[in-house]
């Protein structure tokens, strides 16, 4: 299977490369050209600066959004009055694209990094909140009853029963949030920024530097992939006692 898989991908790349021999439009580079350009970009400081600027926006936003998402999601799942007051607002505004608030955030918090970090945090909040909420709701009642029977207090039940039971769902939400954080970061940088990979790709587009366009594309792809792997790695380490979802 592994061999068939590798062969499949290699033949896809080979086909692409062969097509480029026949002459592709200027805006489609061949795999070898992209690798060559990316290698060259790795040797210059420019790529690292833009990638660093992007991460400086997406990571704090992700951390902020997931922290409050998990916290309030757990609160809404465990405290009924908070659930009734707060959850309807979250569920009603969930299908709304949060990026539309970026211009307003720019007016409120300035056009610098703060407005972008906050809009990323807002977008990351939702998946984690919803997953934490449903994770708490899915806690087997029998576990809670047993803990109650054995004399556990409210704090112990939340900390020792509910939180571990909801943790896999929270991690699933974090994976969605991480993907979202990169999308929103990239969008915010394309709309308005002086640095970052989204800005770089806009600049490349405007000056028809196709090589630079693919370099920033590949850089974002690698960052997104690496971040996803990192979250999955953290989940495997932290929740080693739990059955891994297939």
């Amino acid at each position: 299977m592994g061999l068939a898989r590798a062969g499949f991908f290699l033949s896809l790349l080979l086909l692409w490369q062969l097509l480029s021999l026949r002459g592709l439009p200027a805006y489609v580079l061949s795999p070898l050209e992209i690798i060559r350009d990316f290698g060259a970009a790795l040797g210059s400081a420019e790529l690292y600066e833009h990638a660093g600027a992007s991460l400086a926006r997406s990571l704090p936003g992700f951390a902020l959004g997931t922290f409050f998402g998990a916290l309030l999601g757990l609160a809404a799942g465990t405290a009924r009055w908070f659930d009734r007051a707060f959850s309807p607002a979250v569920f009603a505004s969930y299908p709304v694209p949060k990026i539309v608030m970026l211009p307003m955030f720019m007016l409120w918090f300035g056009i610098g990094d703060l407005s972008k970090v906050l809009i990323i945090a807002l977008a990351c909040f939702y998946p984690v909140f919803i997953n934490a909420y449903y994770g708490v709701k899915a806690t087997p009642a029998i576990l809670v009853w047993s803990a109650l029977n054995m004399g556990a207090g409210r704090g112990a039940i939340v900390g020792r029963v509910v939180l571990p039971s909801a943790a896999p769902m929270i991690f699933a939400g974090m994976r969605v949030s991480l993907a979202l954080s990169f999308i929103v970061m990239f969008a915010a940088e394309m709309i308005n920024a002086g640095s970052g990979l989204g800005h770089l790709i806009r600049e490349a587009e405007n000056s028809l530097r196709f090589d630079l366009m693919y370099v920033s594309l590949l850089a974002v792809a690698i960052l997104g992939y690496a971040g996803d792997r990192l979250v999955r790695f953290a989940q495997r380490r932290l929740l080693a006692w739990q059955e891994q979802p297939a």
Binding site: M1, A4, R5, F8, F9, P25, Y27, V28, R80, W81, R84, A85, F86, P88, A89, S93, Y94, P95, V96, P97, K98, I99, V100, M101, L102, P103, M104, L107, W108, P127, I130, N131, Y134, M169, A172, G173, V176, L178, A179, F182, I183, M185, F186, A187, M190, I191, L197, I201, R202, E205, M213, Y214, S216, L217, V220, A221, G224, Y225, G227, D228
Partner: protein, 255 residues
């Protein structure tokens, strides 16, 4: 007590509106930062009766629905194929799970060159972003069809086509709708973002245009319209699901 619970969400909403209005009237900030609720409501009313703005809403809706419909057709097909064939799953699963966390938005500049600056590039990007949740959920659903049901159908002499139509598709449908539920907000997000980044029409463009003309009340009215559209689309999916799929409820927001 239960009555109080029912009004709580509205109380929260009302509190936010009152705080906003107080901030608008306090005079501490410019009207640009906190336009009064009344002026936003007025602009929203104007939005609803102006044919031009309704046209922009239609353009955005058309892009979102076109990309979503394409993704639904291709996604269900590919996902179910992956679910029923080990070979296809082995080849495509790493492709989809490997690039899941990669922001497809980064392809937008390339798409502009390939599909043009009009609706083409936006529909293509909506298609690509919506494809993932739909494929993943249909794959998940088609893979998990109860083996006992399949064996029973085979035993009773059902043909492959009959098994597909009467067993596999009904068993996968709840998952497909769960995928739709994830994909619809994604379609709205992508349409609005691409229109904000590069467009001359659509609601996302209207947001940027109102901001550039320093009419934040108008801009927030458009934000309200986008929010309403996203909310109604989600409701439409739920409604369709409840009408079509009565045998199983799968209330998932997540993939």
């Amino acid at each position: 007590m239960s009555k109080l619970y029912r009004v709580l969400p509205f109380l929260l909403f009302l509190t936010v509106v009152i705080i906003w209005e107080a901030a608008a009237r306090s005079g501490l900030w410019s009207k640009l930062l906190f336009p009064s609720v009344a002026s936003i409501a007025y602009e929203f009313g104007r939005f609803l009766v102006t044919p031009e703005s309704l046209h922009e809403a239609w353009v955005s809706l058309y892009r979102a629905l076109a990309g979503f419909a394409l993704a639904a057709v291709v996604g269900i097909f590919v996902g179910m194929l992956m679910g029923r064939s080990k070979l296809v799953a082995g080849l495509l699963d790493p492709l989809f799970s490997g690039t899941y966390a990669v922001p497809k938005l980064a392809l937008f500049p390339v798409f502009i060159f390939v599909f043009g600056i009009g609706s083409g590039s936006k529909v293509a990007l909506v298609f690509l972003e919506c494809l993932y949740p739909i494929v993943i959920m249909s794959y998940h659903g088609a893979r998990g069809v109860d083996l006992v049901l399949l064996w029973s159908a085979q035993n009773m002499g059902a043909s492959r086509a009959e098994i597909l139509r009467r067993v596999v598709i009904p068993a996968t449908a709840p998952y497909i709708f769960a995928g739709f539920r994830v994909a619809v907000p994604v379609a709205m997000i992508v349409v609005v973002i691409t229109e904000m980044v590069s467009s001359a029409d659509g609601l996302g463009y209207l947001v940027i245009y109102s901001l550039s003309s320093l009419r934040t009340d108008r801009m927030l009215a458009v934000v309200v319209a986008i929010a309403l559209l996203g909310y109604l689309l989600d409701k439409a999916v739920v409604l369709a699901r409840d009408r079509l799929i009565y045998w199983e409820k799968l209330d998932t927001y997540y993939v």
